[in-house]
């Protein structure tokens, strides 16, 4: 455990990517199975200790620490795991077991016994081990290391291409002994059933204005950007799975889709809800996403379907190396041979040039609420990750409103000492009423300036929340507005973010509630 704690600390604090990779390589080559595999699972977010939830940790710590003192400490530190690690009142009363033993212990202890077991482990640990222990138990690292970085280290260490590792990754399970055996040349590549597994997705990059002059419209195809969630349908002889973009199997929540899927293929598309393939809003989809198992009534009112835009496997044939156009041909043919009731094909938008597509995009946004358009290189193979120059998203311009900062709260994680969560509002008569909350969209430098402003303009404090003078105007961008009973203003914003800080603008000139009504769809 000490070794793993040292590794986590180094990864959290070393700014250099090269040094992080070096440290990971050293760890993976020196630590034996199965501990290194457990570490890999933790670093890639694959370690899920079912019964250890924040509430249980809180309960564990409150058995030892006064609740008020804990609350004040948490507000100061800003990270639950780190607060627990720092505040635990006993230390180094023994030696912690190795990683795999620890994980077994946490997994096989009953929920009722867990607080005692975790408490015992915390007391055995040295201070920096407690930090790693809590991170391990909650599976939430937040140390700025991506799964990709860990896999890059594996590729670096072994000479096996990163893409080859990604390819088998979703067919493997902790502690990955067969993976390490392959990487070290002691065994063949792990044999996984390729057609039956999740395959990492191909992602797009936002297009910039200056990109257009370098791109020939004839080389590209365009489609609407659908406002649902990205899914991968894996349809094999043994059944149908539907994965989210991170590889979680969500088929169980959408029996209406998976039970009606016919044929064999691996398809990429957007999960939507609506009758007759007429997509409803994301808000409607959200109601289905919130339910693990939908009721019959829900499935009737909000039937789900998948709008398919790409094909990875045609039957059991891997077609990812083909260009987009060839895959699209295969996809259309497959749909003709396998008629579907809960899947359709995303339509292609004909356009002459970029101006023409720009007009379509605006029209789509204004008349149908489309999020924007996707632009795809006709010759591009299907490559996992975010390859440059292949797929672009061209989002519609966001709505903006000038709102007044009302309350601020300290952030969590990296921003734990800064006031970085903002509630803002608009005028209603002579008072300002809140319309939303945002915590990103500004640079680190701007965050420091806002933080300073907040400290100097606080009028009241309620626990961790500060009320400020109603003087600072934010230009807030948002995707859409909805009626809401939760806010005093009656309006809620979807995906709000701070677009600009209007240091120059007097609060009197901020928007009024009447202005918001134009945005409500």
């Amino acid at each position: 455990m000490r070794r793993f704690a040292d590794l986590l600390e180094l990864l959290a604090l070393t700014p250099s990517r090269t040094r992080k990779i070096e440290a990971l390589k050293r760890y993976f080559s020196e630590v034996p199975d199965p501990d290194r595999g457990i570490a890999l699972a933790v670093l890639t977010g694959e370690m899920n200790i079912r019964n250890v939830k924040p509430a249980l940790l809180r309960e564990t710590v409150l058995a030892q620490v006064d609740e008020t003192l804990f609350a004040l400490s948490y507000d100061y530190v800003g990270d639950l795991g780190e607060t627990i690690a720092l505040i635990w009142p006993h230390q180094a009363e023994g030696e912690l077991p190795g990683l795999s033993t620890l994980v077994d212990l946490l997994n096989f202890t009953s929920k009722a016994e867990l607080p005692k077991v975790i408490g015992g482990l915390l007391s055995q640990a040295a201070i920096h081990e407690r930090w790693a222990l809590v991170k391990l138990a909650t599976g939430s690292l937040r140390i700025g290391v991506s799964a990709r970085l860990a896999k890059t280290a594996l590729a670096d260490m072994s000479g096996v291409a990163l893409q080859d590792i990604e390819e088998v990754w979703h067919g493997l399970k902790p502690p990955y002994e067969n993976l390490f055996a392959w990487l070290e040349g002691r065994a063949d590549r792990p044999d996984i059933d390729h057609a039956a597994r999740f395959h990492p997705l191909m992602l797009s990059n936002p297009i910039e204005d200056r990109d257009f002059e370098k791109l020939d419209p004839k080389d590209f195809s365009a489609e609407w950007k659908w406002d649902g969630i990205r899914v991968q349908l894996v349809m094999g002889p043994l059944g149908v799975s539907m994965f989210s973009r991170t590889g979680d199997d969500i088929g169980g929540s959408f029996p209406d889709v998976v039970e009606n899927a016919a044929g064999e293929a691996v398809l990429d598309g957007e999960l939507l809800v609506g009758h007759g393939f007429d997509a409803l809003s994301f808000n409607d989809l959200q109601q289905r996403l919130n339910r693990k198992v939908p009721s019959g009534k829900q499935m009737q009112e909000l039937p789900a379907f998948v709008r398919v835009y790409d094909m990875l496997f045609d039957g059991d044939e891997d077609v990812r190396a083909l260009g987009w156009e060839a895959r699209r041909g295969r996809l259309e043919k497959w749909f003709r041979n396998n008629p579907q009731t809960r899947m359709d094909v995303s339509e292609i938008l004909p356009f002459k040039d970029w101006d023409d597509l720009g007009r379509l995009r605006r029209q789509g946004a204004d008349e149908h609420g489309h999020e924007g358009v996707m632009i795809k290189l006709r010759t591009a193979p299907y490559v996992p990750g975010r390859p440059k120059g292949n797929w672009f998203k061209w989002k519609r311009d966001p709505n903006v409103v000038d709102a007044v900062l009302m309350y601020a709260q300290r952030g969590h994680g990296k921003r734990s000492s800064y006031y970085s969560d903002y509630t803002f509002g608009v005028w209603k008569g002579n008072e300002i009423v809140p319309i939303g909350k945002a915590y990103f969209g500004f640079t680190d430098e701007e965050l420091k300036q806002i933080d300073k402003w907040i400290r100097a303009h606080t009028t009241a404090a309620f626990g961790p929340v500060r009320e400020v003078k109603k003087e600072l105007v934010f230009e807030v961008a948002f995707d859409s507005a909805q009626k809401s009973g939760r806010h005093k203003s009656g309006v809620a914003l979807r995906f709000p973010r701070i677009n600009r800080i209007r240091w120059d603008k007097p609060a009197q000139e901020a928007a009024r509630i009447e202005d918001m009504e134009a945005f409500v769809s």
């Binding site: 600390e9 959290a12 604090l13 070393t14 700014p15 620490v65 006064d66 008020t68 003192l69 804990f70 004040l72 400490s73 100061y76 530190v77 800003g78 990270d79 780190e82 607060t83 720092l86 505040i87 009142p89 230390q91 201070i127 930090w131 700025g144 994680g413 990296k414 921003r415 734990s416 000492s417 400290r455």
Partner: protein
Amino acid sequence: MGFIINRDLYVPELDAWIDPPEPRARAIITHGHADHARSGHGAVLATPDTIEIMKVRYGEDCAGRFEALDYRTPLQVNGATVSFYPAGHILGSAQVLIEFAGQRAVVTGDYKRLRDRTAQPYEPVPCDLLITEATFGLPVFQHPDPRDEIARLLKSVAAQPERSHLIGSYALGKAQRVIALLRDAGWEKPIYLHGAMIRLCELYQALGVDLGELLPATGMPKAAMMGQIVIAPPSAIRDRWSRRFPDPVVCQASGWMSVKQRARQALVELPLVISDHCDWGELNVSILESRAETAWVTHGREDALVYWCRQQGLAAEPLALPGLDDDGGEGGE
């Protein structure tokens, strides 16, 4: 009940202020850090070491008149008595005991209880009213043994001989303590100093604190600094100044470094949890040992310590002293 000290640390009987942020006719200074000792007072009462430190930092004539008072030496003024007791914070740091009309009030200034050979060791002083700092007044602060922190530093130096280690430390107190800890851990090579550290290190040595061989960090060829340890103010370490060193490891010696998210924000690669203030446990012990019935809490995270004091049956309240930031201000650390 009336107290012999006001809530702005003015003592009517002596007509004097303790650590006043503005120039006053008569000031009692607990120690030499800038948020406690300022220039421009009429008369200053302090320990001999603190007076030397003030003169080095602000000039010989930074106060109208200096009066030195040794530890444990009562001084009678208008029927009241003032005396100093070691606070263990930095060289010359003192707690101030005021006695008048049968009441004893102690202003701790900044203090710590861990062993430190660069400061006179803390002594508990029984009193009725304790005015304590709370820089690390939250139970998340449990300072480790500084010798373990130095061992981690030396391990990192040995493992990366091609890099230099830059330790961000405040020029007064922390720098000298880190140097002393390094010497005690067996580091015999010269230690390199940023210009801002030099005069105060010389003063410590002149006052009898052995720090070994110290050299200026500037003017050395880059290659010669591989495997060396450099001490500089935190601000210089992340500035252009540090570019003269080979692939430096940014370290910082501070009690704040126990919070990893703080260390990440400050871009510190090797945090060293070395504090010149009490941690939570030391604050608790000190308050109980004083046997005070009333505690006023200042300089830091007052809320938690006030809450704790009340749980112990003390009358406690926070003191909002001017010139102090509510958080992130590192109070002489």
